[in-house]
């Protein structure tokens, strides 16, 4: 498949997921939080993916789970990108001692592996999807700061920055009006790939039972299936769908990331694949 087709195809898949998340109450046959049938029922016309151990409809859970999974992924990516873009612009633009201190701090932070740190931190707080998103976003932001910083350092010395200064622009204005727009391509690419990254992380956290117990997401569905014997009994309709949903979404996002990167950097076009 050509790169362009792949881009539109992954766009289509991603927005299909978004549509499912937005219109979940209309699409889902049952309320995923209430008991809608006998427990552990096999798939039939009433329950296309059967029911879980408490008798909740699995298809409806899958559909509503899209919401939470997407909120966690998008929210974390949004937080992470805002932090890393601001820090990257500030350190890259001002340089000097400020840059040195911030970057050394980030260096130290980056030596701590993200996932174990997340595990420990989530244990200390009341679980909630926004908490998970914020924690992931804040902790994960360190990884992109360096990328944005190096870009800004290149732009900082460009003649058009000098030109902007010559007409009397303040530093803040130069950063927001002249440097930030030049970063948009690379920020977009980083954003898309970090959405994918955080969705996987979020699913991983819920699978370990550290997600919000009050809402349903895919990781939690797999975890429930695992803990209430779905694996042992071979109830594939309970295990496989959430797994496939994660794989589909993250593949779509990964390809969206690659192809948007290619949009901005056409030199990549020939060498990938």
């Amino acid at each position: 498949m050509s790169r362009k087709k792949l881009f539109w195809f992954s766009c289509l898949i991603f927005f299909a997921y978004v549509a499912v998340a937005v219109f979940a109450p209309l699409i889902a046959p049952y309320d995923p939080y209430t008991v809608s049938g006998p427990p552990l029922r096999q798939p039939d016309s009433m329950h296309p993916l059967g029911t879980n151990a408490t008798g909740q409809d699995i298809l409806s859970q899958l559909i509503f789970g899209t919401r939470i999974t997407l909120i966690i992924g998008l929210g974390a990516a949004l937080i992470s990108c805002s932090i890393s873009v601001s820090l990257g612009i500030l350190t890259g633009y001002y340089g000097g001692a400020f840059d040195g201190i911030v970057m050394r701090g980030i260096d130290i932070f980056m030596t701590i592996p993200l996932f174990p740190l997340l595990l420990v931190l989530t244990l200390f707080f009341t679980p909630g999807i926004f908490l998970v998103a914020i924690l992931m976003g804040v902790l994960g932001s360190t990884h992109s700061v360096r990328v944005f910083r190096s870009q800004v350092m290149g732009i900082r010395n460009a003649s058009f920055i000098e030109g902007a200064r010559a007409i009397g622009s303040r530093d803040m204005r130069i950063m927001s009006h002249h440097i930030l727009p030049n970063l948009i391509p690379i920020v977009t690419v980083r954003f898309v790939s970090s959405v994918q990254h955080y969705i996987l992380l979020g699913v991983g956290l819920s699978f370990l039972g550290l997600g919000d117990p009050m809402v349903i997401d895919w990781g939690q569905m797999i975890e429930q299936a695992y803990s209430s014997g779905g694996f042992a009994l071979g109830l594939w309709w309970w295990l496989i769908p959430p797994g496939l949903a994660v794989v589909g979404l993250s593949l779509a996002l990964a390809h969206l990331g690659y192809s948007s990167e290619e949009f901005y950097n056409p030199r990549l076009e020939k060498n990938r694949y």
């Binding site: 000097g96 460009a158 003649s159 058009f160 000098e162 030109g163 902007a164 200064r165 010559a166 007409i167 009397g168 622009s169 303040r170 204005r173 009006h177 002249h178 727009p181 030049n182 948009i184």
Partner: protein
């Protein structure tokens, strides 16, 4: 009336704990409505001088002396007050026009930016002003041009857009740093004519290495070599009767005069020779030149030269 008065300007850069003097005791006065050309080879400090006036030098630059604009010493202003002057009172056409426009901003936004910053007018009136400015700069279809990006214009058009940006707030003093570099002869001529037409009521400091442009645009010429002024005077007088051997060399190196370049290279800042800074390349060097540093002496009305031969 004196608009800009630079006295005893010294600029040095600190690099790796070493102090490199780039500009040495430069005195330069610009009368209102005067046009003055600052001429010299690359590295002689002419761009640094322009940047020093705009206070745009990097933080490792040390500036001494005073730069008086009207009644205020620009070097003593805090950065907030300085921002009020930049673009509004003193406008600058920076070097390297191909790179000065932000590639991801529309022309319209770049022209209106200083208007929005300094005059606080609505974006609609600012757009109208921008269209008017582009029209004056002979940009075809100015209305459409507002929504275009820099890469859609040719080099000459970009130069004219830059001039439009600088003229937007109608600054009193315009500092133009190599405004015609990299343009072909025809476009250069056109750009110079536009500049002449629109800078008539302005005070104009042209920084260039091109004596032709200086001759066309400026009534006064100041020749810099190795960080100091070596000759200054009325453009016609200096160009017809150059006194300093460096100015003479500049003139004979011009293609129309037979292309006889000055031998050697201009010295790097930090390693200026003792005595006269030009003696290593001078054709009429004397023994004394290697020891004694000549001072800038007045030899006639508005005419100054820094050479021991005229002592």
């Amino acid at each position: 009336m004196q608009l800009l008065e630079i006295t005893g300007l010294q600029v040095s850069f600190i690099k790796d704990r070493e102090i490199i003097h780039v500009i040495d005791s430069v005195n330069l006065t610009l009368e209102a409505h005067e046009s003055c050309a600052l001429v010299g080879e690359s590295g002689c400090g002419k761009t640094v001088l322009g940047m020093a006036v705009m206070r745009l030098l990097p933080s490792n630059a040390q500036i001494e002396g005073s730069i008086r604009y009207r009644e205020t010493n620009l070097l003593e202003l805090n950065s907030h007050d300085m921002l009020q002057i930049l673009g509004k009172e003193i406008g600058m056409i920076p070097q390297n026009s191909a790179m000065v426009l932000n590639p991801v901003m529309t022309i319209g936004r770049q022209i209106t930016e200083s208007l929005v910053l300094h005059e606080g007018i609505s974006s609609k009136t600012a757009d109208e002003k921008a269209i008017y400015l582009l029209k004056r700069m002979d940009i075809p279809d100015p209305h459409y041009a507002l929504s275009q990006y820099p890469h859609e214009f040719s080099g000459g058009m970009r130069e004219r857009i830059l001039i439009a940006i600088v003229l937007a707030c109608e600054p009193t003093l315009i500092i133009a740093d190599e405004p015609t570099a990299g343009l072909d002869i025809l476009v250069r001529k056109q750009t110079i004519e536009l500049l002449m037409e629109h800078s008539r009521d302005k005070t104009f400091l042209l920084i260039t290495h091109d004596l032709g442009t200086a001759h066309e645009l400026c009534s006064r010429i100041v020749v810099m070599y190795a960080g100091e002024i070596v000759e200054s005077g009325n453009t016609r007088e200096v160009l017809s009767m150059p006194m300093h051997p460096y100015t003479q060399g500049l003139l004979t190196s011009h293609p129309s005069a037979g292309l006889h370049p000055i031998p050697g290279m201009s010295p790097n800042p930090g390693s200026f020779p003792e005595g006269c800074r030009f003696y290593t390349r001078c054709s009429s060097v004397q023994d004394l030149c290697t020891k004694e540093h000549p001072s800038l002496k007045e030899t006639g009305k508005m005419r100054k030269v820094r050479c021991l031969r005229y002592d």
